[in-house]
């Protein structure tokens, strides 16, 4: 089920002194099974955009379509939306409020008519998937976890729902480097299993390694939309938008400026490494 935004605008608190235009006529279509990254500096409208997709905000104008149906139409079944679209908020730990980790992860499953064995196995699966030990952690209080652990539990709660579209707002902030990597591997597996993934992140390395397509927002408008290579190709433009390109891309760019003939479409670590070894062998490095 493709997600489409059709000329979507959103203004917070219209008609008050706090009026803030957050999104301005954004049109974009995301197909089933895509792995899409969203970038843009603070306040450019990323969180607003994904809350619109998840049906948590209603557009001021324009339409949000899921499978061709307007999700804000009076007749649309909201329950379907909740089951199929999972969203991990920017500070997912604020979604935790139950007495144990197990109950927190199981919270969303209440509406899915599963028996208790199924619930337990889903919870265990979700916790193990985010790299936590089910047996060790299930009876602990969510509030007594470290920052990164809380974030993992909150993400597990969304994964347990097995949504077809998974939207994540800065999910890797606060995760340690290994957890960050294994979390992205997990998203990659879900993606390979057919889940549509939409991830907001400032981490260009991670987006470069895992996503196929990047959307760039600036002041509420969609200013770039394309394959990762293409979006990262113009380093100067990304800098002007105060955004990073992936570090392998940046290093290739710096080498290029020093007159080294290295390909300028490098995005990932392995690509950089291969190019450097190749250059050395062919005498391309000084």
């Amino acid at each position: 089920m493709p997600v489409e935004l059709d000329q979507v605008s959103y203004t917070y608190a219209p008609g008050t002194v706090f009026e803030a235009a957050a999104l301005d006529r954004v049109t974009v279509s995301i197909e089933d099974g895509e792995f899409v990254g969203i970038m843009g500096h603070t306040g450019c409208g990323k969180s607003t955009m994904i809350q619109l997709i998840a049906g948590l905000l209603v557009p001021s104008s324009g339409k949000v379509l899921l499978d061709g149906c307007d999700i804000n139409d009076g007749g649309y079944r909201r329950g379907e939306l909740r089951k199929r679209v999972g969203i991990v908020f920017q500070y997912p730990e604020y979604q935790l409020f139950e007495s144990t980790v197990e109950k927190d992860v199981a919270f969303g499953l209440k509406h899915l008519a599963l028996n208790s064995a199924e619930v337990r196995s889903r919870v265990a699966w979700a916790l193990e998937t985010v790299g936590l030990n089910y047996g060790e952690i299930c009876r602990e209080s969510s509030l007594g976890l470290s920052g990164g652990e809380k974030r993992k539990v909150a993400i597990a709660g969304v994964l347990a729902m097995k949504p077809q579209i998974l939207i994540l707002d800065e999910p890797i902030a606060g995760l340690d480097p290994v957890a960050r990597d294994s979390f992205m591997q997990l998203l990659d597996r879900l993606h390979n299993g057919g889940t549509t993934i939409i991830i907001v992140s400032h981490n260009a390395d991670i987006l470069g390694d895992f996503t196929r397509r990047i959307l760039v927002l600036n002041k509420g408008s969609l200013v770039m939309d394309g394959a990762v290579k293409d979006v990262f190709s113009d380093v100067a433009q990304m800098e002007a938008l105060n955004l990073d390109v992936s570090r392998p891309r940046k290093i290739a760019h710096l080498l290029g400026q020093r007159g080294v003939a290295i390909p300028q479409d490098i995005v990932r670590y392995e690509e950089l490494l291969t190019a450097l070894t190749h250059l050395k062998k062919s005498g391309g490095l000084p």
Binding site: T42, G148, I251, L273, T277
Partner: protein, 345 residues
């Protein structure tokens, strides 16, 4: 010999070394410049200064920590959230010593105990076991807890929940009032603090209208207004975009370089630790290692044991080595890497 050393170590460091050696010989017995630095080690070109610079760094902090002015002096700290004497320790016999004016990064996997440790520094958690002095004050002494909190400020991760007022200057003034600052001094302290973080002119703005990096700098200004000796940043850049991250890191470095604040920086971004004077690595509630950024961040075995990853330039260095390409020095930053690559022959 003295002459040689001063060729490579700037005078201040050498002075510190000799003073340290005289005052605290036992701290210096494993450092013998006469043996380690001889004419062969004197760098011919700047590129060969690596060994020397590692050495200097070590002498430098040894000298500094030896020289009495300790901002943090903790020994044998253990802590359990469950109850005292529990086997489930979040901190397990941690000793940490940070010199005044030093910038120290604490790295470690999720749940390794970083936040638990630094929460002891401003008495958000009270000591269960061990001893701790913060800016010379005993952390156990509950009578002086407010004095201690004034000396040791904290900036946290989430830029959105560190404000009490909807106007920037009121927010900063609030902290000052709490600490009984004479009312007539408040405006000047507020504007000095804002100037320190490069946010003069934002007095009457609402924090909620600012970017993430600006919010964090206002949170920092609130801390700075109290003129702390120590500032702890617990993942203060985690939620920021690249611009905000740069703003905050630049501000932190300026406070270290110019204001000589003691800085403690917790981060999951190894690149941010590169600029620290020293790094502590934590694992499962213990200190696994400490040393200069160069020592720690280029040690693949250590980082793997700590369940961390080396910075990207270090990874490239070792991966190129495997492919038979030897860079002369292991780079820590992207710029250093590019230099090394351009110098290959």
């Amino acid at each position: 010999m003295l002459q040689n050393i001063q060729l490579v170590i700037d005078t201040a460091i050498a002075d510190a070394y000799y003073m340290g050696k005289i005052l605290y010989p036992e701290n210096f017995k494993d450092i013998e410049p006469e043996k380690k630095i001889n004419a062969n080690h004197i760098p011919q070109t700047c590129g060969e200064s690596e060994n020397v610079s590692i050495f200097c760094d070590r002498v430098y902090w040894k000298a500094k920590t030896a020289m009495v002015m300790r901002s943090i002096d903790g020994k044998g700290i253990s802590y359990s959230y469950a109850f005292e004497g529990s086997i489930d320790l979040s901190l397990d016999d941690v000793s940490i010593c940070i010199a005044q004016g030093e910038m120290v990064a604490i790295l470690g996997h999720n749940g390794s105990g970083k936040s638990t440790l630094v929460k002891h520094f401003d008495a958000l958690l009270s000591l269960q076991k061990g001893s701790l002095k913060v800016a010379g004050l005993d952390a156990n002494n509950t009578d002086r807890i407010w004095e201690l909190r004034k000396k040791c400020g904290m900036v946290f991760q989430n830029p959105d929940n560190q404000f009490v007022s909807s106007i920037v200057d009121e927010d900063i003034a609030f902290g000052l009032e709490n600490y009984d600052t004479p009312i007539e001094q408040i405006p000047s302290k507020v504007s000095e603090a804002l100037a320190l973080v490069g946010m003069s002119g934002f007095e009457k703005k609402s924090p909620h209208m600012l970017s993430g990096g600006q919010k964090q700098r206002i949170a920092l200004a609130s801390v700075l207004a109290l003129e702390p000796e120590i500032i702890v940043f617990d993942e203060s850049t985690a939620m920021l975009d690249p611009e905000g991250r740069k703003e905050v890191i630049t501000t932190i470095r300026r406070l270290h370089d110019n204001e000589h604040k003691t800085i403690i920086l917790i981060s999951h971004y190894m690149e941010e630790a590169v600029f620290a004077d020293r790094i502590y690595i934590m694992k499962n509630g213990r200190i696994l290692a400490q040393g200069t950024p160069r020592e720690i961040l280029t040690d693949q075995v250590l980082l793997a044991e700590a369940r961390l990853l080396p910075p990207l330039p270090v990874r490239i260095y070792y991966d190129l080595q495997k492919a038979g390409i030897i860079l002369r020095h292991c780079p820590l930053t992207e710029e250093e890497l590019v230099e090394e690559l351009c110098r290959l022959n």
